[in-house]
Amino acid sequence: MRRLLAVAVIATFALAALAGLGMAATSGAGPDASAPTATPKKPKLPPLPREVRQRKRWIFGVKCDAPPFGYINVRGENAGFDVEIAHWFARFAFGKPNRVSFVCTPTPAREPALTTGRVDAVIATFTYTRDRDTRIDFSRAYYQATGRLLVPNDSTIRSAGDLSGKTVVTTSGSIYDRWVRKCFTNTKLVVTDNFTNALLTFNQKRADTLMWDDTVLVGIAAADRNTKLTNDTFLALPYGIGIKQGNVAMKRWIDSRLEVMRKRDLFYTILRNNIPTRFVAGFSRNILRPKVTFGYPPADRPSPETVCP
């Protein structure tokens, strides 16, 4: 009796399975109102550029002395916001975050690194300007930075309008270098070959103020109680990833993955990994997020570093 019952149960399941297979076989014959609606296919993302695919590794230019975007940590490894973007690109391309090599590219070395083909792309606090866009290509914007002034606590400088007769230090070839040369003829300008030397020049009181990007300077002001940032902001220009001019495949790939990162809110995760918690809320307005997107200034307006206050 028990044996008969077991056979009956097994047979029932077998018949049910066969019926299901039969329904699946007949559903291909034509539209079937009872079948689930087919999900739309995801658009195919652009393929990895050939040179990177063949090398099986990325080579990115990054800053090595501009925390929190690009610096060398205590373990001697490249770290920072831009560096983490590079590791995400390696994940997207090869499934492994460490399939990437870094080349230190201080401000004046970024464009030559691209034009000479030493790197695949530059993720190094690279502010978009129309002038630079004539020589290299930029990805879509991924971070909104503004210029700030770092001053000693007892400084008489309250804003960029107080720079007459003062000494400003910044890095050679930066948007600040161009802006001060053009607009502040009564200001002594000292330009150094990298940010570290600019900071040393300021710290050693060889300059009255250090002019640079807000996110880097805020960390310095937070760590050094003898300094502060003035309240004014200027030269609001987004960062982009520098790409060799004409490398369309590279631009398409990078832009598509930046969009993926935006939708998955990965920039917020990267931000939290790299700046003190108390600054996260404020600077989260500067990054791409699922509900936040931004681009470069429109072409019909003059580039900000060419406009004097």
């Binding site: 401000t107 004046p108 464009e111 030559p112 034009t115 020589r135 290299i136 050679s172 070839g173 270098d177 161009r178 040369r181 000292v190 330009v191 150094t192 070959d193 030397n197 040393l200 020049t201 050693q204 009181k205 060889r206 001019q245 004409g246």
Partner: protein, 225 residues
Amino acid sequence: MTLAFTYDLGSYVAENWEFLLKGLERTLLVSAIAIVGAFVIGAVLGAARAHHIPVLSQLAGVYVEIFRNTPILVQIFFLYYALPQVGIKLDAATVAWLSVMVWGGAYNTENFRAGFEAVAARFREAASALGFGKLATFLNVTLPIGGRIALPSSINTYIAVLKNTALLYPIAYEELTTSALQINALTLETWETFTVLGVVYLTLVWSLSAAIRLVEGRLALPETR
């Protein structure tokens, strides 16, 4: 769209000649101070080394070893960025001439030491026989002869001093190379920048070398002419 290669030397010079000229003036000024200083340092410390003057000879030896065995770039960084941390802050212009002068002086010390030691003993003995004291012997015999012997190797040192002013770039002292690199950082006219730099330095070094050889010819010892 690919980046087209452009090369417009005429426009580059026309737009930037004033800035470059100021840089050249600073290069010449720093070089002049450093070359004169290196000569004086070399002659004094070379004499101390050649005559084994106690204490001074040993100190000169330490100075020579330190500055000949470390890269001049390290020395420049040390003077400009490290000394302020112990309370000694020198401005960029002072570091510029001081660094290349001290570097040149170390090499010149050895140039002159070798020159003074090469003066035949018979000349010094003759001076002594004529009643010259040690200082008078040095000033009237050893220095004129030994200085001429040291001149060819000193020429190389002075040329190196001039070329080493290009290493002042990290301290933002706007001599010729720094000025040109700043223009390059803003304009990316790399070919033009380095063409101009190459031509100017070639002219400078050749001129300096020719001038010193002229002096060398006029100062040559009678038996060597």
